[in-house]
């Protein structure tokens, strides 16, 4: 006999599923820890394939920048020294971070968010931040 009884979905679960299914975010405040937990609850260990446009991305969080993730004209956070936004993983695995793969950030602003990943990525982000600061100083 089949049991067709279904447990009603809570409002929180419904919201979480809808959030995970979304691929675009525009002009929104996104609390990164919450976004990550909803993905974990859905069995996704990292966040993939989303585009954030003109969003405020809030921590506290450390984002692991994975393959295909790009930042276009973003404000990465308040820092005189770009290195304060960067963390270097000591091991091959990284605990406590929010992985983001194939995500696009367009004109977003980051608050209380640090970045980590492969050494080449960290060097690239630092270079981009220095370049952005130099451009702002000349403007």
């Amino acid at each position: 006999m089949n049991d067709t009884t279904q447990t009603p979905m809570s409002a929180e679960e419904k919201f979480g599923r809808e959030l995970v299914a979304r691929t675009t975010f525009e002009k929104e405040a996104v609390w990164l820890p919450s976004l990550a937990v909803h993905h974990m609850n859905a069995g996704q260990t990292f966040i993939e394939g989303k585009t954030f446009t003109e969003c405020l991305i809030e921590g506290p969080a450390v984002m692991a920048v994975m393959n295909g993730t790009h930042f276009d004209t973003c404000n990465m956070g308040v820092a005189e020294n770009p290195k304060t936004l960067l963390l270097d993983p000591r091991g091959d695995m990284i605990a406590g971070v929010i992985g983001m793969s194939n995500c696009q950030f367009i004109r977003c602003r980051f608050v209380q968010v640090a970045f980590t990943g492969a050494r080449e990525m960290l060097d690239g982000v630092e270079k981009d931040l220095l370049g952005a600061r130099g451009a702002a100083a000349q403007a």
Binding site: G59, D88, A95
Partner: protein
């Protein structure tokens, strides 16, 4: 700009402590509660038998003790739990703790950062990992 993320989270407030016993603590929630109370640093708390959940990276900045704690699944390499700040004096993103005691606590999905000497001590305490 709309604010869509925090609204549906229905978590019981953790409160100001300063003592927490056998409590499940979602670290971003603890940080937000501390921030709303006026401090970006979580200070002068005692956690006993608590489960700390991330995703989050902890920055013990001063006077923190870890006694009998399970710091997480290091996948055979204690350094997997550690991140080294590239900046010399300041770091953005991790959750800072000051003068806090962690006794018989367990950490899941949590990384640790701080000065190189602290990371070396933590790695060796976990599993004798070779300092970098």
């Amino acid at each position: 700009m709309t604010d869509v993320a925090p609204a549906p989270l229905t978590l019981e407030p953790l409160g100001a402590g300063p003592t927490y016993a056998s409590v499940n603590i979602w670290l971003p929630q603890l940080y937000i509660e501390s921030l709303r109370a006026g401090s970006q640093v979580i200070e002068n708390r005692r956690f006993e038998g608590c489960l700390f959940e991330g995703p989050a990276v902890i920055l013990p900045i001063e006077g923190c003790q870890f006694d009998g704690c399970d710091l997480g699944d290091a996948k055979g390499d204690p350094r997997s739990l550690m991140l080294a700040p590239l900046g010399a004096n300041r770091v953005v993103g991790p959750i800072a703790f000051k003068n806090c005691q962690f006794i018989n606590c367990r950490f899941v999905g949590v990384g640790f950062t701080g000065a190189a000497a602290f990371l070396d001590d933590m790695a060796q305490a976990i599993g004798g990992g070779a300092p970098q």
